[in-house]
Symmetry: C2
Amino acid sequence: MITRMILHIEYDGTAYSGYQLQTDQPSIQGEIENALKKLYREAIRVHASGRTDAGVHAKYQIVHFDPPCTLQNLNLKAALNTLLPKDIRVINTAIGNKDFHARFSARERQYQYIISTQNTALDRDRVWQIYQELDFDSMKKSADLFIGEHDFTSFCSVQAEVDHKRCTIFKSYWEQHGDRLIYRIHGNRFLHSMVRSLVGTMAEVGKGRLTVEDLKNILESEDRSSGAITAPPQGLTLMYVQYEEKINWEG
Amino acid sequence: MITRMILHIEYDGTAYSGYQLQTDQPSIQGEIENALKKLYREAIRVHASGRTDAGVHAKYQIVHFDPPCTLQNLNLKAALNTLLPKDIRVINTAIGNKDFHARFSARERQYQYIISTQNTALDRDRVWQIYQELDFDSMKKSADLFIGEHDFTSFCSVQAEVDHKRCTIFKSYWEQHGDRLIYRIHGNRFLHSMVRSLVGTMAEVGKGRLTVEDLKNILESEDRSSGAITAPPQGLTLMYVQYEEKINWEG
């Protein structure tokens, strides 16, 4: 008897109010639960590695659920992809141990944020378009400040309901590819709108409105009202989630 | 007095019936002409390097037009980008000589077509998703057959109204990047739906339904009904157009 299924999901967040289930707006969780309900003919709750905000994308989001029964000859991936909208795809499926939890077993999350310094029609829902010269060296120095364990209160939405705001950042760096500035951050956990706040504030440094020293002071103040700016959602993508144990994907 | 303006345009073709002006459906040309009419308060005809079909994109489309007057202190790029929908962007502008023609002065067009062998939500409007094993070596051999001057009647829509169907192909090759197979083709001219027909038929070879020899026979038959298959539009992007003389971009 299969007790827990794991799904690797990719989604385009543009049309959704975010990952989390909403009563009156489309959400990624809502679409997945709707598809599972059609398949199993019963309400099923799914659990994700974490929430993503409205307009934020995922290349690698992990969700788990407990199927109420075993459907004979089921190709779960193909069946769900028939039922899901085209902007949400099941990339792979796996059978999980009962103690696997998409959120609590995760050890590391990896995000990517893309800034385009050029206009773009094709990637308009995938990048933040900034049409001004940015001081990229200062942005790179800013990114270094976040590595290690810090209290990220200054870069966290006040709505966040968590018992503490300390996160350990393993990697935090910028890369340049032509007119694209790509920020990558790997950490054990992320607070509500944290990556967007880090990027938005680093962009202020790039624009010359803040210095690297100002950014350091904002971080150390542990105070949301100390000046952090939130970048728009469409540049952000959840790229990978690492678990304690390797997931045995079927595909 | 400025007599001819050149625009580098990028567009997402998903929402349009194609480049060419249509009376009752949205088109790229229609949107550009609408924006120019708002700016100059008079109907203006634009000329492009070539047409693209419904759902086909352009990273680098070139259009020219003759402004009826000189608007003082005009930032043409910024003004048009304010008036155009977000899926059509002016990337750059240039002043052209009176004998520059977006179509007739072009010497080379470069296209890219992307096949994804994996499901994708994020790139669903940018790739052709094929969920089966493809014989990539045979596809690479197929691409070699098109290099040089050939009559492409077999790979051209019967609707095409041109005096001859000979095209010179300078480059034609496939590259693999992870689960993406990328086809690049450079040629002096392309016929209606030609790149999509080449790709669709090479995919038949990849699927094992045709051999490389079959493809060669289709090419040499110079007959549209000899078996070419047209690939879907969303994988195709016009990447570059090369002119006799270098364009002096303003940005």
